[in-house]
Each structure stands twice: as structure tokens, then as C-alpha cells.
């Protein structure tokens, strides 16, 4: 995969060459609420995904890296310099915020050119045209942003963040509102950016979005870095986690006894009117269950997975 992001935990204090992005035990709290708790990671060039449910602290991490929030404790560094209170970093950082709002009275071209001028680029018009071409928005460049679709707004925001060709690109839920074609185009663009040595950090609450995109993934849950590593390892962890099911049948007691002989079943609890089953391998269990029931002449009335919410998947990674 092109553009696999390098990843290390614990920061790299004292290293001769600093990683483009370093979080050294970075925490952020608001009063008594801890939004981010002692995150330590350094990111090299390439694409890194920041995965977690809503409210996990992904945007807080991105805003700290973008220098828009100062850490309550620890440090956040861009090329070895503190990110917060340091406007100089914005020459090498581009941010695509999650919120959709873009100045609606500007045309797409005016918005991107404004970003180019604020970055003091020598030829802002040409830079704006190049950035708009990169996100495939030329045909709508002269229309007001107020008439743009959600996907077009995302793309114009990305063009605004890319216009000064930053070495660090931060994207907060960038695929919101994009159709599959636009998504594919954006993935190609981000891969191309990563392949030229840029560091791209993308937040998402959907694992599938990061498939084929992020080489490495940081998983945030409740403000903590729950897991980090290659996308495939994280994916495997999530797929292989224990699953629980609630089952109702014509003879719960006899079915429970039969299921306990299955190697994929970790435990069976007989509750009032139902069985609570915990399995280590979802695939094996769902194949074994009908075989067991048919063999014993038992009818299955209902089988419900009980922990399929995204939060439960992420919580498993925390407890692991």
C-alpha cells in the first residue's frame, strides 16, 4: 500500500530528527471532563487513521495537533516545535475541519484563493486553480458555496487546506457527504500526497473508511489511545473479539448442553426464557448452531447479537 504511515508510541524525545507530529503524554481536559488522556505517539510521513466513536477525543487530538487547542498536560509538537500559540507552523500544516460551514457568500475559487493569499503565496490565483483541479471542482469553482452540496463543501475545504502544499495535512471526518466516486478520487489524492513524503492524519468513526487508505491506525476510546498499529492488525482484533448472543428456542436447557461441547462457545448462561451465549469465533458459532439444533430436534425462535454497537467494539479494545 502506498503511503503507509509510520507510527511509534511514546514520543521521541531527544531524537536528532524529529517526527513531523509528536504527542508526548498529551492530555486535555475541560473542567472535570477529560477529553484526551495522556496520548503518546509520534507520526511519520504517510497516512495515519484516527479511529474512534463520536466523542472519543479525535477532534480534540486533531485540534491540539493543529495548534487550536493547547494541551492541559504534556506536549504536542510539529517538527519539534510546539503546535499551540505558534502561527508559524501553519506554513506547513493544513487543516480540514469537521464542521461543514464555509463562508457561503464566497465562490469556491474565492475561498481557495483567500486561503492562498492568507498563506502569502506569490501567485495565489494559480495556486487556487491547481488546488481546485486537485479536488476535481473546476466546474463549480465560480459558483457560490451557499449552493454547494455537502460533498462539494468537503472538497472545497480540502482544496483550501492543500493550496499551500503543506507537509502535514489534518482531516477531520473528511469523507462526510462524499459519494463513492468522490471518495475514491479523494483517496487517490491522499495516497498521492502521502507518497510525496507528507504526513496525513485522518479522523473517522467508520473503520471501513480507513480501509485501503490508512496504513496505520490509532484507535481512540473515551479520550485514551486504546490501540495502535497496522490497519490489518486492528481489523483482525475487532473481528476476532468475543461476541455475545441472546437465543430463544423450543428447549433452551438441552440446546445449552449441546452448545457447551462446541469449541467456539466460551460460556452459556441460562436466563429466564433465553440463553446468553458468549463465543470466541462468531463464524464458527453461527455455523455450529443450526447443526446442533437440527441434530437435537430443537427449533430456534430468535437469535440476537447483543453487542454490535461501535462503542462495544471500541470498548473491547480498551479492556483487551
Amino acid at each position: 500500500m502506498t503511503g503507509d504511515g509510520g507510527l511509534g508510541t511514546g514520543g521521541r524525545n531527544g531524537a536528532a530528527e524529529r517526527a513531523p507530529i509528536e504527542l508526548i503524554d498529551a492530555s486535555r481536559w475541560y473542567g472535570n471532563v477529560v477529553a484526551v488522556n495522556a496520548v503518546a505517539v509520534s507520526l511519520e510521513a504517510g497516512i495515519t487513521g484516527l479511529l474512534g466513536p463520536n466523542g472519543a477525543g479525535k477532534s480534540t487530538v486533531l485540534h491540539m495537533v493543529a495548534g487550536l487547542l493547547s494541551p492541559s498536560a504534556g506536549q504536542v509538537l510539529i517538527d519539534g516545535e510546539p503546535a499551540a500559540g505558534n502561527p508559524g507552523i501553519y506554513r506547513k500544516v493544513g487543516l480540514v475541519p469537521e464542521r461543514e460551514a464555509v463562508q457561503p457568500f464566497l465562490t469556491g475559487f474565492e475561498f481557495v484563493r483567500m486561503n492562498a493569499r492568507l498563506q502569502k503565496l506569490p501567485n495565489a490565483d494559480d495556486a487556487a486553480r491547481r488546488a481546485i483541479a486537485l479536488v476535481d471542482l473546476e466546474s463549480a469553482a465560480d459558483r457560490r458555496i451557499s449552493g454547494y452540496s455537502k460533498g462539494m463543501r468537503q472538497r472545497v475545504k480540502i482544496a483550501g487546506a492543500l493550496v499551500h502544499e503543506p507537509s502535514v495535512l489534518l482531516l477531520d471526518e473528511p469523507f462526510n457527504g462524499m459519494d463513492p466516486r468522490q471518495r475514491l478520487h479523494m483517496m487517490e489524492l491522499l495516497h498521492a500526497m502521502a507518497s510525496t513524503g507528507r504526513t496525513v492524519l485522518i479522523s473517522s468513526h467508520i473503520l471501513e473508511e480507513l480501509n485501503d487508505l490508512a496504513g496505520n491506525v490509532l484507535v481512540m476510546v473515551a479520550g485514551r489511545l486504546a490501540a495502535s498499529g497496522h490497519f490489518r492488525e486492528i481489523r483482525k482484533l475487532m473481528t476476532n473479539r468475543p461476541h455475545t448472543f441472546t437465543l430463544r428456542s423450543s428447549d433452551d436447557r438441552r440446546l445449552a448442553a449441546g452448545l457447551m461441547e462446541e469449541p467456539s462457545v466460551q460460556s452459556v448462561e441460562l436466563t429466564e426464557g433465553a440463553l446468553a451465549i458468549r463465543t470466541s469465533d462468531r463464524g464458527l458459532f453461527t455455523r455450529a448452531l443450526p447443526r446442533r439444533a437440527r441434530g437435537a430436534g430443537i427449533s430456534i425462535h430468535e437469535l440476537l447479537p447483543t453487542d454490535e454497537s461501535l462503542e462495544s467494539v471500541f470498548n473491547y479494545l480498551v479492556k483487551r
Binding site: 477529553a35 487547542l69 501553519y90 460551514a101 463562508q103
Partner: protein
């Protein structure tokens, strides 16, 4: 380093002059002309009557009503909804000092307010003004309104940055402090920008018949004006410098 950024000023200008706001503000600045034209057509005109009417127009309509209203609309809209809707982020993630953002927006709001009020002053003068007294009156108010625009906008830009209900807070200042309380409470005159405008105009047009000195001294205008001007901008700059994008938890 320049105290202002031209791109931020251009953005602010585009932000301030949306179609609806432009229509409202053009009506504001044209209102004195309409009033002067009605007077010119319906009354028996003499130079003294024209001068009296022009003075009352500059005082009661422009200085007391149109100037603070124009300033509150433009001043509070300079940062407008940018903080609430998050579009301020596009300005914050640039290698610009935050004080430059505040000053750029302040300058646009002040110049726009003054330009509109200058038009509001000059048009009725063209209709009713004749002779050196009318010219002196026009010049005095043109200068006093510049000071008023600078002070009002400093206050209202700061409110626009720091308050989610800046327009309401600004209108409360105008209605409660300036209109309701300051005519009756002596101490409040020294924080009323309206009184400062009248003092400057009264001083500059002291020879014009019927022109009264303001209720506060020139020294008060200088001292309190400087405090309001520097205090408001310094507070706004400090507020933006400490501003952080918080995740809604």
C-alpha cells in the same frame, strides 16, 4: 509588519455587505436626505431656519440614532457568526498574528460606518447648507462622527467577538446607557460615546448659532475615549489570542 491584512479586510467587507444588510444601511444613510428634502419642500425656508434644521438633523437623527445603529450593526457583524459557525478556523490556521485579525476587521467596520455616516451628513448639507455656518456645522459633525465611529466600532467589535448576543448587548448599551440613563445620571455621561460626539461637534462648531457645548469636557472625551478605544481593542485581541476550538463533548 502591517497592522492590518488586506485579505482579511476583503473578507470582512464581503461579510458585512450582504444584500440585505447593504439595503438596510443605504436606507440608514439616505434617511437624512429624505427628511431634509421633505423640510425643503414643505416649510418656508430662511438661512436661519435651514441651519437650525440641519443642526437638529445632525444631532437628533444622525448622532443619536443612525451612527450608533450603523456601528452596532457593522461592528458586531465584523466577526459575526464566524465564532459560532466555526468559519473563524480558516483565519486562525494561518501564519497571521491574531491581533492583526482583530485590527483588520475593526478598520473595515469603522471605515464602513464612517463612510455611510459621512454620506448621511453630506447629502442634507447639499440640500439645506448655504453659507459658512452650515459648512462649519457640516465639518464639525463630519469630524465628530469619525471619532464616534472609531469608538463605537471598537466597543461593538469587541462585543461581537466575546458575546453570542452581541447585537442585543450593543443595543442595550445604546438604549439603556446612552438614551435612558446618561441624560439623567451625571456619571454615565462620561461613558456615553454619544456625549463625546456632541462635545467634539460643539467644540469644533462653537461659533455656529445655537450650537451648545457638550455635556462632558474635552479632557473627559480624550481620557474616556482612549480608555474605551484601547480597552475594547485590547480586550478583544486578548480574547481572540486565548480562543481555543473546543470539541463539543
Amino acid at each position: 509588519m502591517s497592522p492590518v491584512n488586506l485579505t482579511v479586510m476583503w473578507l470582512t467587507f464581503r461579510q458585512l455587505f450582504t444584500k440585505q444588510r447593504l439595503i438596510a444601511l443605504v436606507c440608514f444613510s439616505a434617511a437624512p436626505l429624505v427628511i431634509a428634502a421633505i423640510f425643503a419642500v414643505t416649510r418656508t425656508r430662511t438661512p436661519a431656519a435651514d441651519l437650525d434644521f440641519l443642526r437638529e438633523l445632525y444631532t437628533g437623527v444622525i448622532s443619536f440614532v443612525l451612527l450608533p445603529l450603523t456601528a452596532v450593526v457593522l461592528g458586531t457583524a465584523a466577526f459575526g457568526g464566524e465564532i459560532d459557525d466555526g468559519t473563524i478556523v480558516y483565519l486562525l490556521v494561518k501564519a497571521l498574528p491574531r491581533w492583526q485579525l482583530v485590527l483588520s476587521k475593526y478598520v473595515v467596520a469603522t471605515v464602513a460606518t464612517y463612510a455611510l455616516m459621512f454620506i448621511a451628513c453630506v447629502l442634507p448639507w447639499l440640500v439645506l447648507g448655504s453659507g459658512p455656518d452650515a459648512l462649519a456645522l457640516f465639518e464639525a459633525f463630519a469630524a465628530a462622527i469619525a471619532i464616534g465611529a472609531a469608538l463605537y466600532c471598537a466597543l461593538f467589535v469587541m462585543l461581537g467577538l466575546t458575546s453570542k448576543r452581541a447585537l442585543v448587548a450593543g443595543l442595550l448599551y445604546i438604549v439603556v446607557i446612552e438614551i435612558a440613563l446618561s441624560p439623567n445620571v451625571v456619571g454615565l455621561k462620561s461613558v456615553s460615546i454619544r456625549e463625546f460626539v456632541m462635545t467634539v461637534a460643539g467644540k469644533l462648531a462653537a461659533t455656529v448659532p445655537g450650537m451648545h457645548a457638550g455635556a462632558v469636557s474635552v479632557a473627559t472625551v480624550e481620557t474616556m475615549g482612549a480608555i474605551i478605544f484601547v480597552g475594547s481593542l485590547a480586550f478583544g485581541i486578548r480574547w481572540l489570542a486565548r480562543y481555543e476550538m473546543e470539541e463539543r463533548l
